[in-house]
């Protein structure tokens, strides 16, 4: 594998290799010395055109545990605001020694453009491109599901698991990446959200969809994944009011209590407590939110290893 751009282009074997490798890396975290020499001499650049502390830190932690070197390119106050193109930025970074470029960009397809343009030879990891994809987030979600529902996660698929993804689906790269990866692994995905926030072409996706969260809860899903509500999409002039959203789509304690005993609650973070998820639910024993964060480092290690382990 040269790049990791989307989960849509991952086949079952590639996805399982990434997840199994991530499991082995997770074991390293518990060692006396939680560091591997594997990517010595490899330089990873975080190229972030959008704010994201968590994803950036998670990639940094992953690179550090594999002994890679890290450079961070901040957009604020950088030459990008002076009008430098993506091409020039990427070529500059490569000239400084970048082997892997982790890119987050507000435009869908930015990572793929960088990978396929021929501008650079570096491996590209998509860390979120517009409303398109965020593959490492979906991988860490799949890893979390596998750990929860399989006593031996290695090699296991998600066959038969039902996952409800709730919220602003249309603007969510997390939802999109999860739809493709989870269905590739055999899970059944239901998308839940108000009509204005479900994508137009949702009938063509390999999923069910519903406007009614209570219906989705009563169908007894194994996992409910709450998406972060972006406040700028609510309020004046938008299609749905904040109050209506919270009433209809918030995972309240009452709703969570109706889930089967061993169902889990997921959230990609950062959470708006009291908006899409109630505080008591986020802190309950159902919540696997911190497992997701932990697994994020492991799947990013796996991605870096898959892309560069053979070419250090």
């Amino acid at each position: 594998m040269k790049h990791l751009l989307s989960t849509q282009e991952l086949d079952v074997d590639q996805a399982l290799t990434l997840l199994d490798t991530a499991e082995e890396f997770q074991a390293v975290a518990n060692r006396q010395v939680p560091k591997l020499p594997t990517l010595r001499g490899v330089t990873m650049v975080n190229l972030f055109f959008e704010d994201s502390t968590r994803t950036r830190l998670s990639f940094e932690a992953a690179a550090q545990r594999l002994s890679a070197d890290i450079m961070t390119f901040q957009v604020h106050g950088s030459s990008v605001s002076k009008g430098e193109s993506l091409k020039d930025t990427a070529q500059t970074l490569e000239a400084m020694g970048a082997d892997v470029i982790v890119i987050r960009h507000p435009s869908s397809g930015a990572a793929a453009t960088l990978a396929r343009s021929g501008w650079v030879d570096s491996s590209i990891i998509n860390a979120g491109d517009g409303a398109h994809e965020h593959p490492t987030q979906a991988l860490l979600d799949a890893m979390t599901l596998r750990q929860r529902f399989h006593s031996e996660p290695r090699g296991a698929l998600l066959t038969g698991l039902s996952v409800a993804i709730v919220g602003d689906i249309v603007h969510s790269r997390v939802a999109r990446s999860n739809v493709f990866l989870l269905t590739t692994l055999g899970a059944k995905v239901t998308l839940v959200g108000p009509p204005a926030l479900l994508p137009q072409g949702v009938d063509d996706w390999p999923v069910h969809s519903t406007f009614d969260l209570d219906d989705a809860i009563d169908s007894a899903p194994d996992a409910v994944m709450m998406l972060r509500v972006q406040r700028e999409r609510m309020g004046d002039g938008s299609l749905i009011s904040h109050k209506d959203y919270v009433r209809n789509y918030s995972l309240t304690r009452a709703r969570a209590d109706r889930l089967p005993q061993d169902s889990i609650v997921m959230h990609p973070g950062p959470m708006n407590r009291g908006v899409e998820i109630a505080s008591q639910v986020a802190d309950s024993s159902r919540s696997v939110i911190l497992d997701q964060v932990r697994n994020g480092v492991s799947v990013r290690m796996a991605a870096l290893y898959e892309l560069r382990g053979g070419q250090a």
């Binding site: 082995e24 006396q32 010395v33 591997l36 020499p37 053979g310």
Partner: protein, 176 residues
């Protein structure tokens, strides 16, 4: 490709029993022994050796696995490798006598990687190396303490170790 059998199933079993005796004799303290096999077939051998040593010494001897993939120096040329599990027995390896177990000793690079991998897990009192076959052609200053069979080979030959637990059949072959 001509394959020549050099160890049969009964040869392998006899050899492992002999190595088990050697390990017991060479160990200052049998209760400090931990056997760590290098995946894939080294792990099977480590568990078998631990069983024989337990029979000889009359005490349980822990065995586990040590994956060295992430410590290799040939990741860039050896093609893609997926890491295998590392399972260290509950007592850990600090201050223990660790015997690394592998099926074939060749360049010594795997063992070099294993020594690095060990340092990330703890600090053994002693580290020893037991192999079923030593085929020569070392590229590093590494030697085995316990050898099942010395097999002088050409570079062009391959040693194939088959074990029942992994391969369904059991023998060692030289493939030319």
């Amino acid at each position: 490709m001509a394959a020549r059998a050099v160890l049969s199933e009964s040869d392998i079993d006899r050899t492992l029993r002999r190595i088990a005796h050697e390990i017991v004799e060479a160990s200052p303290e049998t209760s400090a022994l931990v056997l760590l096999g290098i995946p894939t077939r080294g792990v099977v051998l480590a568990h078998r050796l631990a069983g024989y040593i337990s029979d000889i010494a009359g005490i349980p001897v822990p065995a586990g696995s040590l994956d060295v993939t992430m410590y290799r120096d040939d990741l860039s040329t050896g093609g893609h490798r997926t890491p295998a599990p590392t399972e260290v027995p509950g007592g850990g390896i600090d201050d223990r006598v660790v015997v690394l177990v592998d099926d074939v000793l060749y360049s010594g690079r795997t063992v070099r990687a294993a020594l690095d991998a060990l340092t990330a897990i703890g600090r053994p009192r002693l580290v020893r190396l037991a192999v079923l076959v030593d085929r020569g052609h070392r590229e590093l200053p590494i030697r085995a303490d316990h050898v099942g069979k010395n097999l002088p080979t050409h570079h062009g030959e391959r040693i194939t170790v088959k074990l029942r637990d992994v391969d369904g059949t059991e023998e060692v072959q030289v493939v030319e």
